[in-house]
Symmetry: C2
Subunit: 488 residues, 2 copies
């Protein structure tokens, strides 16, 4: 993968980030046997999950978690790839110097009490920032929980996560998540890992960003083989130009979904008191970010839902038409079709005009009196052919249409024997390379079966029609963006 | 209750509707022993649920469901309050004449095959409409499933619902739901009854509306003591003027929530082919409806979610400010506060400016360096006082503020012992008569406990922040409407 738009410095840093994600040996400076302290949780998580070696550092212990404990990183007899720092803020600078003297060039600082905590913390932060910059040390943080890498089970957060013991394996997947700082990042990350919204490749909280920033992370995730989708929640952008270049580069191979708040006047005011960001800058950066084709969302749950949507299908679809936004609606209920038109239109998606071949095909399914229109109302045909047969025939009629970019499919689940042509519809998606998203209503006891059967075939289903339309919109927007950049 | 705006005729019809909802004896014309037919399901449902008497009518049987079966309604030796008709469309007119001759003035026609099914059906429909009008018979339908009244367990739908046997009792509540016709209405109604989104008072599908229409139903539900909230899904409006008067009258005592599709050009086109409604009329009626203060929604699940919101608190709140739209945000995460501002502003809600007394109260909770702003960032205080104490103190500071109309409360659930001041916060809602809605994040295993504890105290909680803001918006919009009409 090439990064024509990245500066030489940024391109170079990508290699350095690998030491954070794939260390062999990690030193935990501030490890402790006191389970109330963060240094305990970090050691606990590493000892229980990490496939590499975790070495505790604390002058008060000879041994911790069954391993020899060292007074100073310099005493560790192995090469250390990554130092995790969890000592009080005022002691971090001294630790950083010890790391430098011991030849450790990658330091993850989880300690809080820096710029987020007032004037004194800001001074401490400047001190470590300057030192790292002068000595070419890569720093991740401070004020963050760091990394969860499900590829080597590196789990650095100071959140005590015993529940992951049986579940981390299940959390493995191809969606990366990046969150900036504070309570939200830590709590949200724990919620994502615990809930199984999607399978996670790498989860990162990046904190105060004295050195490594969101642009570095995106650059790294762009080349990470385990990551096919990138979801981000950001409060501020460190370097607008570099970040834009990173997003553009990443979007060439994988979708990037972003929750970046601070759009309205009240939100800007709140953001400026929260992160000391400047509203004016934020407006300009926002405008630039939108040009990168990134998929924007407004809410945390919308962020994970959109991650789930792309997890099911990370590749762009074909885009049959010039707008790339023409939808066929195949519905068991004419009324639901009307509601769908309202929602599709409100999100800038159009109701496709079928070509004559499609209309002929639909006429062969419909009773004679019925006109072949879009939305395709399947009910009168279901009385003739049954649900499964009718939906399959209608889907086979509309999917090949060159005026159709995607399909919103809306059947109902009957309370008697419910069969649906899951395989055949999934084959249509692959054959014509167009997204199908499904809303469903009726017997709720059948919903899990329906959702699972389509979910494992890469087709999204939602109980809320708006979520279906959001998914189609996300797929088609990303596909159109990829079409525009791939052809450049 | 008075209806100053209703025409004399409409006001009179309210009394007549009672026979549909509260019959003592129901005749089922078209009852059958064949479980594949709708006439079987209707009898099954009535026999298993209805507290009154259900009498089968079908010349082919002497007995059905353990009751004597009559060849003609005229043969029934009891007074019949309601006739349910489920014979083929072309036989309905003859049945209607028999009803008239037997002195039955209330007829629910569930049979399909009328205006929704082409020219012949339209002619059949006109015939029964004219007959009913000339003979002053009240007709409900045709092409509908009728009524579920959880007060007397009248269950008329032709959907076979054995699963309700153990569950109908649990479905009892104070929310009425009205849906127009077809697949959607029948399936959606079954989904609502089955899912327990909210407790149902009366569920009605009204079909082709040859006589009784949505205005009649709203008028009836407005005076129904078991109904405190009305949710409606409509495709077309029969009489715009009467319907507006009905909504206005109903909104004086209970919130009315409406999904009425057909707003965008594509949706209007789809609606006109689906219900033969005229787009131009729809625009005019839509405009009028919005003036009634009715709460509009865009999606089926949004309709039930909004029903759930008002089920928790059907009465209007106080509205402290002149806008009635000033929100205090009390959050464990500054970042979540910024996101909340964006979403609140995008829905036309403002971030309240606290009066000085509130600021002083917050200063007593906050660490000394922290400014008392809205959103109220509780995190630094939690480190001093703990989650429960901090949230309670902050809520007690903001709830009395005369510049605050409602509160968005956003704590996190910790993975250790989680306590929250459920009772105390619920008391604040009652004392200050302002809505509190909660978003929550963190340990998902604690969510059910949190949701249940607030839910049973009448406070809505959602995992999606937008849903919280929608709930606040719905509460405050309805409260402002009630303030404007109550003071007239």
């Amino acid at each position: 993968m090439e990064y024509p738009e990245l500066s030489e410095n940024r391109a170079f840093r990508i290699k350095e980030l690998k030491r954070f994600f794939y260390p062999d040996t990690v030193a935990v400076i501030g490890a402790t046997a006191n389970p109330k302290k963060n240094g305990y949780s970090i050691m606990y998580n590493l000892k229980n999950f990490f496939e590499g070696r975790a070495v505790p550092v604390n002058p008060n212990y000879k041994e911790l978690f069954g391993s020899p404990c060292y007074a100073d990183v310099g005493d560790i007899p192995h090469e250390v790839d990554l130092a995790i720092v969890i000592v009080p803020a005022e002691k971090v600078f001294a630790v950083l110097r010890q790391c430098k003297e011991s030849g450790i060039g990658s330091v993850l600082i989880e300690s809080a009490g820096f710029a987020e905590a007032g004037t004194y913390g800001t001074a401490l932060q400047k001190q470590i920032k300057d030192y790292a910059s002068e000595n070419d040390i890569r720093i991740w943080g401070p004020n963050c929980t760091g990394i969860v890498n499900t590829d080597n089970m590196l789990v650095t957060p100071f959140i005590y996560m015993p529940e992951l013991k049986d579940n981390l394996g299940k959390a493995v997947g191809n969606v990366a998540i990046v969150a900036q700082s504070g309570m939200m990042a830590a709590g949200f990350m724990a919620q994502v890992l615990q809930s199984g919204y999607f399978g996670v490749s790498k989860a990162c909280t990046i904190g105060n960003k004295v050195d490594i920033d969101e642009a570095d992370i995106v650059n790294y995730l762009a080349i990470d083989e385990n990551t096919r989708v990138i979801t981000m929640y950001l409060e501020s952008i460190s370097s607008g130009r570099d970040f834009m270049a990173s997003i553009r580069a990443a979007m060439k191979t994988k979708p990037v979904i972003m929750l970046k708040s601070g759009r309205t006047p009240d939100a800007k005011r709140a953001a400026s008191s929260h992160t000391a960001s400047l509203a004016g800058d934020s407006d300009i950066i926002d405008g630039f970010i939108n040009q990168t084709g990134v998929i924007r969302v407004d809410d945390f749950i919308e962020l994970v839902r959109t991650g789930m949507v792309f997890e099911k299908h990370p590749e762009p679809f074909k885009c049959a038409t010039s707008t790339g936004r023409e939808i066929a609606v195949v519905t068991v209920s004419g009324a639901a079709g009307v509601v769908a038109c309202d929602i599709l239109n409100s999100k800038g998606l159009n109701i496709a005009k079928f070509e004559s071949r499609t209309k002929e095909a639909l006429k062969r399914v419909f009773p004679p009196w019925m006109e072949p229109l879009n939305p395709v109302d399947t009910w009168p045909s279901i009385e003739l052919h049954g649900v499964s047969e009718t939906f399959l025939k209608c889907m086979r009629a509309v999917m090949p249409d060159p005026n159709v970019d995607g399909v919103l499919m809306m059947p109902f689940t009957a309370n008697t024997d419910f069969h649906f042509p899951y395989d055949e519809i999934s084959e249509l998606v692959n054959e014509y390379d167009k997204p199908v998203v499904s809303w469903v209503f009726g017997d709720v006891r059948k919903f899990p079966e329906y959702f699972d059967n389509f979910g494992k075939r890469g087709i999204c289903c939602f109980e809320e029609m708006k979520h279906c339309v959001d998914a189609l919109n996300a797929y088609l927007s990303y596909s159109a963006f990829r079409r525009s950049t791939d052809s450049v």
